[in-house]
Amino acid sequence: MRRRTLPPVTQLGMLSLAFIAAAVIYMAAHLPERVSLGPAIALLALSALLLVVNVVSLSRADGFAWRRFLEVARWALLAYVIIASLIEFVFVRNNTSGSPLVVLTLCLVVFALDVPVLIAFTVARYDEPQPAAAVGASERGSA
């Protein structure tokens, strides 16, 4: 297998997830009472920034198996959008509203993007970049 130099997507993705987890823990520890949103917004901003840095640095990487990445990412995204929606539903059901709900929703959006990026990157990093027809043929052959 040809070794490629890729950006530290897993490390940055985990750090981004850790910031999101910290933001949600901070808010959950105070809800349903009034919560000061400053720390949660700062953690959310850091997490979103790391997600953007991750995607941008990956988009600049040479010889990355983008087709495989997108193939895995779209299914993972579907799964984690469903999970994030369930968590959102619980907060809405319990009358979380206004600014706390906006911050929580944005945290869940970053979470639902972070995890598919991590899964798809881990799969695609061990794949050779190949044209669309070759990917389809190899999948039909191995199914």
Binding site: A21, I25, P32, I119
Partner: protein, 186 residues
């Protein structure tokens, strides 16, 4: 490398997941104690037991198996984990939050609120490890084994990552047991 036929995501399990999700939504909407407690306990027990069993019992056994046996075991176990773990985690957390709201245990005035926050932190750490390392390794090893010619070095590396992270989350589950038993005994 000999490999049995397998689907990365077992389609037969998807209707079961859908039923569980519908039950979860119904329980949250109904906001009744028994269904919420049932789903939280069943989801949490599933999550905890699988993490402990995988991390401390199956993990070391898998590590000692021959490569063909390991591949066969992996292709039979890991597709099931792709569906079971996210479902168990989502059910535990969503039903748990609703249950805490129902009982008032997520209020800052609750006497054991510090223990509740500790459980959030433990779950947060486990989520970062599981979602950042374990789940990607699970999907990646299955994708690698689906290839016409899997790379044994990649399979080995991803399996090690899976087993070590399962062990780490298994350790964190011990903390979950301590916290949950403290909360239930007051």
């Amino acid at each position: 490398m000999e490999r049995p036929q397998f689907d990365i995501v077992p389609r037969a399990g998807l209707p079961i997941v859908a039923v569980v999700v519908v039950l979860l939504i119904a329980a949250i909407e109904a906001n009744k104690l028994w269904p919420l407690e049932f789903l939280h306990v069943v989801g949490g027990a599933t999550w905890t037991i699988i993490d402990l069993f995988l991390g401390f019992v199956l993990g070391p056994i898998i590590g000692k198996l021959s490569i063909p046996a390991r591949v066969e075991f992996t292709t039979r176990l890991m597709p099931k984990m792709v569906l079971i773990m996210p479902t168990a985690v989502a059910v535990t957390l969503a039903a748990g939050w609703q249950l805490a709201t129902h009982l008032g245990t997520n209020q800052t005035s609750y006497a054991l609120h510090g223990w509740i926050v500790a459980s959030y932190i433990v779950v947060g750490v486990m989520a970062v490890i599981a979602l950042g390392l374990l789940e990607p390794a699970n999907i990646a090893v299955l994708t690698e084994l689906k290839k016409p010619v899997p790379n044994p070095e990649v399979v080995e590396r991803l399996m090690k990552r899976f087993i070590y992270t399962a062990g780490a989350t298994g350790l964190m589950q011990v903390a979950t047991l301590v916290i949950m038993t403290k909360l239930s005994s007051g």
